[in-house]
């Protein structure tokens, strides 16, 4: 039963993504992609991943604010689509190639509903599930993995986030006014 619900939700997500990409109004497309993100968080709930659902909602709200900031311009509200045949052709060819590769990839995938950790007795996930509570004292194994077993990954994540924020700030920063021509005028006043 949850599989059918998940499938319906993913189909809705695809429709939302198509709308977001095809509509000519930027505001509409930002709102559509927000719908896709919130649907994704519902799918995470059905996949027994409550932590992911919560994080996805929080991140999605910030994403919407950022995208609105980028999208809302007084004079540039809608984008006319100029199609070039050759561009579309190249895109379709690439997508077909990717679809072929994907079909090959899914042949080796585990069946849906049977995680890979069942196949190998010494998979790391099994260890985490076995010893997570004893070794870390965290009842939530996902946080145990994030903050204890793989804490260095989280450190790297925070570093990446810091770099991205510093980069965004330094791109958006207003350049300081040049005062070389009148060095100490401000002080004299």
């Amino acid at each position: 039963m949850p599989e059918i619900v998940i499938m319906v939700l993913v189909i809705l997500m695809i429709i939302g993504a198509l709308l977001a990409i095809e509509t000519s109004n930027l505001l509409h497309s930002v709102i559509s992609v927000g719908a896709v993100g919130f649907l994704l968080s519902i799918v995470f709930l059905f996949l027994s991943a409550p932590d992911l659902a919560i994080t996805q909602i929080a991140v999605e709200v910030i994403t919407l604010v950022l995208l609105l900031r980028a999208a809302v311009r007084s004079e540039n509200d809608s984008v006319p689509h100029r199609r070039k045949i050759i561009d579309t052709l190249v895109a379709v060819l690439m997508i077909l190639a990717m679809a072929g590769l994907g079909a090959r990839m899914f042949a080796d995938f585990p069946q849906f509903g049977e995680p890979v950790m069942d196949r190998f007795a010494d998979a790391p996930s099994n260890t985490y599930l076995q010893d997570g509570l004893e070794k870390t004292g965290a009842a939530n194994i996902v946080t145990a993995v994030l903050l204890d077993f793989r804490a260095y990954d989280t450190l790297g994540e925070v570093t990446v986030l810091f770099c991205a924020v510093v980069g965004a700030l330094s791109i958006l920063r207003r350049p300081a006014r040049k005062r070389l021509d009148r060095p100490d005028k401000e002080k004299d006043k």
Partner: protein
Amino acid sequence: MIYFLCFGLILVGLYGVLVRRNTVKIIISLLVIEYGIHLLLVLQGYRRGGVPPIVEPGTDQQTWIGQSVDPLPQALVLTSIVIGLGVLALLVSLSIRLFERYGTMDISKMRRLKG
């Protein structure tokens, strides 16, 4: 079947990146690709009729291990979601700067760097 739908979502995003010319549209398409990949990874760890990987008081450890979904993809996707937010902030600030400099969001009109 669910895998194919999820891969379809990634392909929709790829189409958007390749065809659209507006910077905000390209950012949105990248976001759709990201969603698709996160969903694919979490789908892989799902167990039919699985419970969240959270130990509740009074549960039998061994039967719970047999029922829980895979915690590892969830933890790594959690990392990836947050990193995606940082990357998005960087992309949006670049797009804002480009708009201020060229007065357009059409990438085919930003030709100043072309020789």
